[in-house]
C-alpha cells in the first residue's frame, strides 16, 4: 500500500520540484533520482504483489493485480532508463541552443508529470480516473512534443492534440455508456470500479457494452496508434525530443492498449462472443500491414521507428484479439517492444545529435565513430525486426504459431507485412550504421547503459524467460482471457 503511494507520489512530487528547479544544474540528476525512487517503489510493489496477490486500496479506487503490476514495473524501469538517457541528451540539446533553460524546466517537470499520469492510469481501479489520467497524459505529452517550438513540432503537437483529444472524447463516451449499463446492476457507487464491473460482467447489458466498446476502442485506439487512427503518431515521434519519443513508443502506447484490454475483459464477459477479439484482430492486422508499407518511404529516422511502433502495436493488438496463449505472447511482446524500442530511440537520439540531423541519408558510419551507438542501433533494429535470439522473436514466434493454429489465413498477411518491414527498415538502418562516417563525435559522453541494459534484457527474454516471470505472464494472460 505504501509502495503504491510512493509509486504515484514520487513522480508527482518530483514534477513539482522540477517545475521550480528544472532549469538549474543537477535537474537531470533530480529527474533520475526521482525515477529511480519510483522504480524502487515499483519493484517493492511488484514483490509485494507476487507474495501477497492482488490488492485493492484507497477506497477501492486503486488496485494492483498481476496484469498491471508488470506494466507498472516496466513503466518505472523504462522511465528510469529514459531519465538516465535524457541527462546527457538534453545537455547536448541545450549546448546546441535548441532549448532554453525555461524549456528545460518545462521538459523535466512534464516528463515526471507524464510518468505520474501513466502510473495512475495503470494502477487505478476506476474507469473514470483511468480516462482522466489518459487525458492528462495526452496534455503533458502535447507540451513535450511541442518543446522545440519549431513549425514542424507545433504542427505535430497540434495534430496530436486534436486527434488524441477527439479520440479521448470518444473514450469518455464509451466510459459513460459502461456506467450507464453498470448503474442498473451496481447502483451509482461502484459502477465505474473495474473490480466491481468484473464481478458482475455477465449481467451487463450486451448491446450497450458492445457499443461502449466501439467508442472505447476508437478512443484509446487512437492513442495506441491503430490504423487508420494512427496519423498523429509518426509526426509526434519525429518532432519531439528523443526521450519523449522513447517514452511515447515504449510506454504511452502500451498504457493505451492496456486500457483497451481492461475494457475488452468486461465486454467479453458481457457478450460471451468473440466480438471484441474480432475487432481487435481486424484492426491489429490492418495496423501491421499498413505501416510496413510506410517504412520504405521514410527519410527521417525517428519517423521510421515511429511507424515501426505502430506496426508492433498492431501485432500486440492482434495477439490480444486472438486471446488464449496469444495473450501471453502479447504481454511478452509489449515488454520486449517497450525495452527494444526505447533502446533504439536512445541510440537514435545520440546518432541524430552526432549527425546534426534526423535525415537518414545524412547519417552514415555510426559504428565507426561511436561503436556503442552504432551497435546499439544495429542490434536494437535487428531485435525489433524479429531476429532471434532477441525476445521480440520469441513473442512473434508465439503469436505466429497461435495464428497458424487458429487463424491460418492471417498468418501469410502478417508474415508479408513483417517481411516488407524487414526489407525496408533494415536497409535504412544498415546504411546509417555502416559505411564511411559523416557524423561527428559527441561533446558529452552519451549514456549508453540504458541501451545495453534494455538490449541485454531483451536478449535474455529471447533465450530464457525466468519461471516466475513466465508464471506472472500466465496469470496476467488468464486475467485477459
Amino acid at each position: 500500500m505504501i509502495e503504491l503511494a510512493l509509486v504515484l507520489a514520487t513522480p508527482f512530487a518530483t514534477a513539482i520540484l522540477l517545475a521550480l528547479f528544472g532549469h538549474r544544474r543537477g535537474a537531470a540528476e533530480i529527474n533520475s533520482a526521482g525515477s529511480l525512487l519510483t522504480l524502487v517503489a515499483a519493484a517493492a510493489l511488484t514483490i509485494h504483489i507476487i507474495s501477497d496477490g492482488p490488492m485493492t486500496v484507497y477506497d477501492e479506487q486503486f488496485f494492483v493485480d498481476p496484469l498491471n503490476v508488470f506494466l507498472i514495473a516496466l513503466t518505472a524501469l523504462v522511465g528510469f532508463t529514459t531519465s538516465l538517457f535524457s541527462g546527457p541528451y538534453m545537455r547536448v540539446e541545450h549546448d546546441h541552443g535548441r532549448l532554453s533553460s525555461a524549456r528545460l524546466r518545462l521538459y523535466h517537470s512534464m516528463f515526471q508529470m507524464f510518468m505520474c499520469t501513466m502510473l495512475t492510469a495503470l494502477s487505478t481501479n476506476n474507469l473514470g480516473i483511468l480516462w482522466v489520467a489518459m487525458e492528462a497524459a495526452t496534455l503533458t505529452t502535447v507540451l513535450l512534443v511541442s518543446l522545440y517550438r519549431t513549425p514542424a513540432s507545433l504542427e505535430a503537437a497540434w495534430k496530436y492534440f486534436i486527434l488524441c483529444g477527439v479520440g479521448i472524447a470518444q473514450a469518455l463516451f464509451g466510459t459513460i455508456l459502461i456506467y450507464f449499463a453498470a448503474e442498473r446492476v451496481l447502483g451509482q457507487s461502484g459502477a465505474l470500479l473495474w473490480t466491481h464491473l468484473d464481478a458482475v460482467k455477465s449481467h451487463l447489458e450486451p448491446t450497450v457494452l458492445s457499443l461502449a466498446f466501439v467508442f472505447l476502442f476508437v478512443g484509446y485506439g487512437t492513442k495506441t496508434g491503430l490504423v487508420p487512427l494512427h496519423n498523429w503518431l509518426a509526426d509526434a515521434h519525429a518532432e519531439g525530443p528523443t526521450p519523449v519519443s522513447a517514452v511515447l513508443s515504449g510506454l504511452l502506447l502500451n498504457v493505451a492498449l492496456y486500457a483497451i484490454i481492461r475494457c475488452k475483459v468486461l465486454v467479453d464477459g458481457a457478450l460471451n462472443t468473440h466480438f471484441a477479439g474480432n475487432m481487435m484482430m481486424a484492426f491489429g492486422l490492418l495496423t501491421v500491414v499498413v505501416p510496413a508499407f510506410y517504412l520504405s518511404r521514410q527519410k527521417d529516422v525517428k519517423r521510421l521507428f515511429g511507424y515501426s511502433s505502430i506496426e508492433h502495436m498492431g501485432l500486440i493488438t492482434f495477439a490480444f484479439g486472438m486471446g488464449g496463449v496469444a495473450s501471453f505472447a502479447g504481454l511478452l511482446h509489449m515488454t520486449v517492444h517497450s525495452l527494444t524500442k526505447s533502446a533504439i530511440f536512445f541510440a537514435v537520439g545520440h546518432a541524430a545529435q552526432m549527425a546534426g540531423t534526423q535525415i537518414i541519408d545524412d547519417i552514415r558510419g555510426l559504428v565507426k565513430m561511436s561503436p556503442t551507438i552504432g551497435w546499439g542501433l544495429m542490434l536494437g533494429s535487428l531485435a525489433i525486426l524479429g531476429m532471434p535470439p532477441f525476445g521480440v522473436f520469441t513473442s512473434e514466434f508465439m503469436i505466429l504459431t497461435t495464428s497458424i493454429k487458429h487463424y491460418p489465413w492471417a498468418t501469410p498477411i502478417l508474415l508479408t507485412a513483417l517481411g516488407v518491414a524487414f526489407a525496408s527498415m533494415f536497409h535504412k538502418v544498415q546504411g546509417m550504421v555502416f559505411g564511411e562516417p559523416t557524423v561527428r563525435p559527441l561533446a558529452h559522453n552519451p549514456a549508453l547503459l540504458p541501451v545495453f541494459l534494455h538490449l541485454g534484457l531483451v536478449l535474455m527474454l529471447g533465450l530464457w524467460i525466468p519461471p516466475y516471470l513466465a508464471e506472472w505472464y500466465r496469470q496476467a494472460a488468464r486475467l485477459i482471457g
Binding site: 476506476n126 473514470g128 480516473i129 480516462w131 482522466v132 487525458e135 496534455l139 502535447v142 507540451l143 511541442s146 517550438r149 519549431t150 513549425p151 514542424a152 507545433l154 504542427e155 505535430a156 503537437a157 497540434w158 495534430k159 492534440f161 486534436i162 483529444g165 477527439v166 472524447a169 470518444q170 469518455l172 463516451f173 466510459t175 459513460i176 455508456l177 456506467y179 450507464f180 449499463a181 448503474e183 442498473r184 451509482q188 459502477a191 465505474l192 447489458e205 448491446t207 450497450v208 457499443l211 509526426d235 519525429a238 518532432e239 510506410y294 518511404r297
Partner: protein, 226 residues
C-alpha cells in the same frame, strides 16, 4: 406504448428533454455558423443549457455533487471560456469569417444523417434506460458527432478548438443528464480537461500564429508522407 408513457413524464424530465432538444439545435447552429464571434456566443448558450439541465437533474435527484458540477459548468463554460476566447480573438486579430472546407448546406445534410445514425445507435441504450430521460443519450451522441463533423469541416484553429469544446459539452451532457450524474471525479476531469485544453490551445494559438503567420491549419500540412 410510448404515447401513454409521455403523459407520465414529470415536468423536470420534460425540461431536461427540452434542454436536450436545445443542445441539438445549438449544435446545428454552430455547425452552420460562419462567424467566429457568433460561434463563441452559441457555445456560451450551449454551456448555459447544459448548466440548466445539470441543475434540474441535481435538484430532482437530490445529488448535491451535481450542484457542484452545475456550478463548474456555469463558471467555466458560460463565463470563463467564452471570455478567454473573445480576448484571444481580439489579441490575435483573427478574421471574423470562418472558412469551411465543405459548404454549409452539404454539412447540414450530413449533420442530419448523423443525427439519424446517432438516434438509431442509441435506440437500444435508451430502451434500456432506467431514467426518465430516455432520449437524451441519443441527443448527446448526436451532439458529439456533430461537433466532430464541425472539427472536420473547419479550417482555422480557433473554430476547431471551439468544436472540440462543444464536443466536451455533449459528453458532459451525457454524463450528467443522460445518466443522471456520474461519479464526481469524471465531471471534474472533464472540466479540468476543458480548462487545460483551452490553456494549451491558447498557448498554441500564439505559437502557431508566430510560426505560420496565420491560424489557418491548412498551412500545417508539411509533416506528411511524400
Amino acid at each position: 406504448m410510448i404515447p401513454t408513457f409521455l403523459h407520465a413524464i414529470p415536468l423536470s424530465s420534460q425540461v431536461i428533454n427540452l434542454c436536450a432538444a436545445l443542445m441539438l439545435l445549438l449544435a446545428f447552429a454552430m455547425l452552420a455558423q460562419r462567424r467566429v464571434l457568433t460561434l463563441i456566443n452559441l457555445f456560451m448558450m450551449q454551456g448555459f443549457v447544459l448548466f440548466v439541465s445539470t441543475l434540474i437533474v441535481a435538484l430532482t435527484t437530490n445529488q448535491h455533487e451535481l450542484l457542484v458540477s452545475a456550478g463548474i459548468t456555469l463558471v467555466l463554460k458560460v463565463i470563463a471560456l467564452p471570455l478567454i476566447l473573445h480576448r484571444l480573438i481580439r489579441k490575435l486579430s483573427v478574421k471574423w469569417d470562418i472558412e469551411t472546407l465543405l459548404n454549409i448546406p452539404t454539412t447540414m445534410l450530413i449533420g442530419i444523417a448523423l443525427v439519424i445514425v446517432a438516434f438509431n445507435v442509441a435506440q437500444p441504450i435508451s430502451q434500456l434506460s432506467g431514467t426518465i430521460t430516455r432520449a437524451t443519450i441519443g441527443i448527446a451522441l448526436a451532439c458529439v458527432l456533430l461537433a466532430f463533423l464541425m472539427m472536420i469541416t473547419r479550417s482555422k484553429a480557433v473554430p476547431q478548438v471551439i468544436a472540440f469544446l462543444a464536443m466536451e459539452n455533449g459528453l458532459f451532457f451525457a454524463a450528467t443528464s443522460a445518466t443522471y450524474g456520474m461519479p464526481m471525479v469524471v465531471e471534474l476531469g472533464i472540466a479540468l480537461d476543458a480548462m487545460v485544453g483551452m490553456v494549451i490551445g491558447g498557448v498554441f494559438f500564439f505559437h502557431i500564429r508566430q510560426q505560420f503567420d496565420s491560424l489557418d491549419i491548412r498551412q500545417m500540412e508539411r509533416v506528411k508522407e511524400g
